[in-house]
Structures are given as C-alpha cells and as structure tokens.
Amino acid sequence: MQYFNNPQALLRLITAMQDGFANTLIIFFATLVFSIPLGMVVALLRMNRRRIISAPISLYILVMRGTPLMLQIFAVYFAVPMLLGVNFDRLYATILAFSLNYAAYFAEIFRGGMLSIPVGQHEASQVLGLTRAQTFFHIVLPQVLKRVLLPVSNEVITLVKDTSLANVIAVSELFRAAKNEASRTASIEPLFVAGLFYLIMNGVVTLVFGYLNRKLSYYKE
C-alpha cells in the first residue's frame, strides 16, 4: 500500500489526477448539453411521416448504437480530418463523438416517451385550438420528461463511466491520469482511486435524478 495508508501521498496522487478529472467533467457535461437537445431533434425527425426523412435517421441510430463507441471516437478523430482536411483537438473530437452517440440513445428514449403519451392528449389539444408547437412544448414535452426520467438517468450513469473511453485517443481524462500514475509508481491503487471518483460522480448523478423525480411527482398520470 502506497496511498491508502498515507494521506499525504494520496493527496499528491489526487493533485496529479486533477487535470484528468477536469477533462472528464468537461466531456461529461458537454456531452449532456449537446446530446440531449440533439436527441430530441433526432427523435422528432425519426417520427416524421416522410420516409425520406425518417429512413436516414433510422440508419444513423442503427450505426450509432450498433458500433462500438470506441470505434466512433477513432473515426471522428482520424477519419473526419482525412475526409474534410481539418484537424480536431482531441477533446473536441471526443465530445463530438460522444454527443453523436448519446444523441442516438436519448432519441430512442424520447421517442418511446412521446409514443407513450395517449393520443387523447393530442386530440384534446387540437380541439381546444392549440397549435402543434404549443401542443408539443406545453402538453407533450412536460409529460414526456417525467416519463423518460428513469431511462435517461440510466444513460447518464453509463456516460460517467464511458468518459474513460476518451483515453483511446490519448485525451488525458481521469482514467488515463490514473493509469499514468499507476505505471509511474508501479501500483494499481491509482486505478481504484479513479474508480472511487466515478462512484462519487454517479452518487451525485443519482441524487440529482432523485431530486428531479420528486419535483416531477406533483402529479400522477
């Protein structure tokens, strides 16, 4: 034991890993900020009646969910610059790949949520004279958010752990920082420290979703 019985060494280790942790947080929050709205748009396009719109979206969802995220990260970092001739910052490439991937998962969750809203809600809205946009934003969306909270929390918890995949293109996130420390000091303890960080992050995520769930339980269906 080098760290767990030595608070000063542990503190030094954590300091050495703090930049990695910061990057992990950036990937996490940036992915949420981009993928949730994008997922909503993808869900709406997927539900479009015209096949010319919904079919390519189905293909997009199939590819994103059907291939490894790790491969997608490689693809964005190496293949896109080759095709477009622009170079990506590693961190941006990671965020782009994560956002595109998670948007596909969120889209299917949102689509399921929207399909679960009874058709009567749409009919009542129409008969009262609400426009389609008003119906979506005021009637459908708030009810969908309540219904999708649980599956969304699952995805967010997975995202916390998936951020470690960024290390395949050498982004210095939490897991990579821990690995570096582990090989430098010939100890596996840094990896467990990293594990503890993920666990704490997910503890916070769980608390936040618990809070949202309580906030949204002012009504039952």
């Binding site: 009567g120 009919e123 129409q126 004279g129 609400l130 009637i139 009504y219 039952k220 269906e221």
Partner: protein, 250 residues
C-alpha cells in the same frame, strides 16, 4: 348553425359513414344513438376535424370546413380550419384532461394561448365555469385526484371556457358508474336549459328522451331516423328503435 351533407368516410376497405347528412340549428340539443360500431363517434370526430372525410361537405356557421370538388374532399386552409374548429367544442369519453396541469390551469392555459385572454380574465372565467359544474373547491387539485365524474365535469368546463358555438359529447358518461353519470348528466341538462347548441352521443335512452330536442338513430354508418325526441323515442317509436333500445330500458 351546422350543416353536414353526404359525408362518406372509410377506414381502409370498411366504409364507416355512408352518405350521412346532419343539420343542427342554433340552440338545439341533438342526441345521436345507435349500436356500437354504427359510426357515431366517427361522425362526431369528422365534425371536429379529428378525422378527414372522403367526400361530402361540412359547413359551420355558413362557412365551409370541407367541400367536395370532383368527388374529392377539399378542406379549408389550416388557418381557416383552426378558426372553424374553435366554434366546436368536444368532450371525450375518457376526459383527456392535461394531467400535469391543475384543474384551474387546464381551463386557463387554452384560453390564454388560443384566445389571448389575460391571466386575470381567464382565471375569473375559469372559476365561474368551475362553480357552474360544482367544482369551485377543486381548482387547485390535479386531475389524478378527482373522481371520473369530477374529471368529466372539468372537461366540460374546459370546453365551455373556449366559448364554442356547438358543444359535442362522445359518450360522456360511459366510463362512469350510475351515480357519477347522474352528476355529469345534470350538468349537461343545465346547459340544455341555457339553450346551448349540443350534439350528444349517448347510450342513456332516458336522458336522450328527456333532454334532447331531436334524436338521430344511426345504424351501419347511415342515419336511419332523425326527428323530434318525442317521436323517435316516444310511444310511437319504430320497430327498429324498439329492438335497439330493448323494452327493458323503458
């Protein structure tokens, strides 16, 4: 007030409405009766533009919602349709209240969004209507905390809040037990006394006979009888009606 001529409507291969014509005058209460599957709901849904017709015409207050040109139904522009549909109100069998809004907000939100009324104006009117249906004390509740009869009365108040010229009901009490049914029918009866124009699809024969001015009997997607309630359901009623209603209900 409302004039529907020669309406035809099919779902796939099954023709659900065959040449249905209906006329509703101002202040009239019309009950539509008929066996399950005879097309009553479909007719009401067509009048509220929840279904599109295949051919025929629907005029509301003299304005065309849909006409037929060369055998094909042609609907008015989306904007015109919205205006026309606002003249119609609809109360559904399963209420369709907005569960995430309080009772008050269920009534206030459409008034503000669609009619552009101020919050104060909308709330005041909503409270008036809730008093009318006997639910003033439930304004702050959520629909999930109300009985079915109370939810249906909120739905009626919500429809009234938009000041429709014609109010349609599709079996408003068929999801309710007898006591709750009586609550809801009492509200509709009151509206009839106030000379509201209403079209009520119902299985309540006594209610149809007592409250409706006119009764339309539908069978197989056609209007088979259409006349004053006392003729269609009275002692001179036809064999078809006798068979339909079953003597037991009298």
């Amino acid at each position: 007030m409302l004039r529907a001529n020669n309406i035809r409507k099919s779902f796939g291969d099954t023709q659900v409405l065959r040449d249905v014509s209906v006329n509703i005058s101002r202040g009239e209460v019309v009950a539509i009766i008929g066996r399950s599957g005879s097309g009553k709901s479909t007719l009401l849904r067509c009048l509220n533009h929840l279904e599109t017709i295949d051919s025929g015409s629907i005029l509301i207050g003299g304005q065309a919602m849909v006409t037929t040109v060369d055998g094909h139904a042609q609907y008015a522009s989306e904007k015109a349709l919205r205006g026309l549909c606002l003249k119609m109100g609809m109360v559904f069998q399963d209420y369709n209240l907005f569960p995430h809004y309080s009772v008050l907000k269920n009534l206030v939100m459409p008034q503000r969004m669609v009619l552009g009324r101020s919050r104060q104006e909308a709330e005041q009117y909503a409270m008036e209507l809730l008093a009318k249906v006997g639910l003033s004390d439930k304004a702050a509740q959520y629909p999930c905390n109300l009985s079915g009869g109370q939810q249906q009365r909120v739905a009626i108040a919500r429809a009234l809040a938009m000041d429709p010229e014609i109010l349609c009901f599709d079996e408003p009490t068929s999801a309710l037990d007898p006591q709750l049914t009586a609550e809801v029918l009492a509200v509709i009866r009151q509206l009839a006394v106030e000379k509201r124009t209403m079209i009520v699809v119902t299985h309540e024969m006594n209610f149809a006979r007592d409250v409706a001015d006119r009764v339309i009997y539908m069978a197989g997607g056609e209007v088979v009888e259409d006349g004053p309630a006392k003729d269609v359901l009275g002692s001179e009623r036809s064999e078809a009606i006798r068979a339909f209603a079953g003597e037991a209900s009298y």
